[in-house]
Subunit: 238 residues, 2 copies
Amino acid sequence: MKTESIEYQDGAVTLRGFLAYDDKKTGKRPGILVMPEAFGLGTHAKERAERLASLGYVALAGDPYGNGVEYNDLQEAIKHVGALREDPAKFRQRGRVALDKLASLPQVDPNRLAAIGYCMGGTFALELARDGASLKGIVSFHGGLETQRPAASGQVKAKILVCTGADDPFIPVAQVNALADEMTKAGVDWQLISYGGTVHSFTNPEAGKVGMPGIAYNKSADERSWKAMMAFFDEIFA
Amino acid sequence: MKTESIEYQDGAVTLRGFLAYDDKKTGKRPGILVMPEAFGLGTHAKERAERLASLGYVALAGDPYGNGVEYNDLQEAIKHVGALREDPAKFRQRGRVALDKLASLPQVDPNRLAAIGYCMGGTFALELARDGASLKGIVSFHGGLETQRPAASGQVKAKILVCTGADDPFIPVAQVNALADEMTKAGVDWQLISYGGTVHSFTNPEAGKVGMPGIAYNKSADERSWKAMMAFFDEIFA
C-alpha cells in the first residue's frame, strides 16, 4: 500500500491531505473522501483511509483547516469549526476542493465517488450531498446533521447513510428527526442507524482523551457502523 | 432442503408452524424463530424461513392464531391481533411455545437462538426479548414497538435490531423514541435502522394487495434490512 501527503488549494489556503491506495492495483477504482473530526486531520481519519485502501479503494483524507493543522484542545477546535461553518458556501467549497482533488487522480474513477466523515467530517459529507456533488453515496459517523441550507427537492445525487449514537449529546433526537424530514422532503434515498448506549465520537479509540462525558469510543458501534458502510459501498458501487 | 408442517401446543390451542432446514447438514445449528405478519402464517414468513434454511439455519415460522389460520382481510386480522394482544402474558406465551418447540428440535443448538418477525411478528420477537427469553438476538421488521410491560433493567438477554420505515404510519417517531428510551433504561444492546421513503410492510412483495396507503413493498429497504439481519446474525452467532 502507498500513502503520501497530497497538497491542494482552496483559493489562497493550501490544504494538506493524506492519500492512501494500493499501488499494486491497476485501473481506475472508486474514490472515497474521508473528512476528519473537528480536531483536524489526524491519526483517526488517516487510519480509516488506510483501511479503505487495503480494501481496494483510493482514499483521500481531507484537510479541513489548511497546512494539515491539528488542534488538541476541544474548545480551540470548536472555535475553528465555528469560523469554518459561519459561511455555508465556504464550508461546502472546502469539501469540494478535496473531492475535486480526489476525482482528478489518475487511479480514481470519477464516476464512482463517495464521501465519509466523522463528527464535523460527517457534516462535510452531508453538505457535499446537499450541494448536489456527483457522489454515489455519503456516510456520516457521529456527524452534525444541522444545516443552514436544507437540501432542495431533486438536487441530491448521493444516497445517504447516517450512523449516529442514540445518546450523543451533540446530535439530539430533534436533530435526527429534522434531518429525516429534510431528506424525505427532498426525495433523497436515505437511511439512518441509531446505536443504543452510544455517545459522540464512537468510532475514535482516542475519544476518551478529550475527558468529557458524552464523548467516548464504543467498539461495538464502531465495528457495526464500519460494516454497515461496507455493505452500503457494495450497493452503491455494484 | 426439507420443509414440513410442525404442530405444537399452547394449552388447548394447536399451533401449526412451518419448519425449514437443510437435511444434508449434520450437527446442531442456530435456530431462528420467524413470526409472521398480522394476517397469520402465510407465504411471506414461510419464504423467509426457507431462505434462512438455505443459509444453514434451522428456521421455524410460527403460527400466531392456531391451526395455521390466515386472514385475508386487514380489518379482520386487526380484530384478531387485538384479541391476541389484550393479555400481554398470553401474547408472550404464544411466542414462547414456538421458541420452545424450536429449541427442542434435535438439529437445533438451544444455546444459539434468535427470533425475527414482521409487523405483529416483530412485536412477538420484541416481547420475547422483554420477557427475558434465552435468545442471542431478535430482529423486528416493521414491527409494532409498543408494550404494556416495558423491559426491566438487566432482564433482556437478546441483542436487539429494529428495522423500521421512516414513513410507517403504524410506527410513528414517538413510538420509535419510546422504544429507544425503554431499551436504554433497561441497559439493552440495541440498534435501530430507519429507512427513508419507506412505509409499513416494506419486506412483503404482496403488501400492495391490502390496497391501503401506508402499506407497501420497498425492494431497497427489504434487501438492506435482510443484509443488516445477516450481519447481525454473523455477530451474535460468532
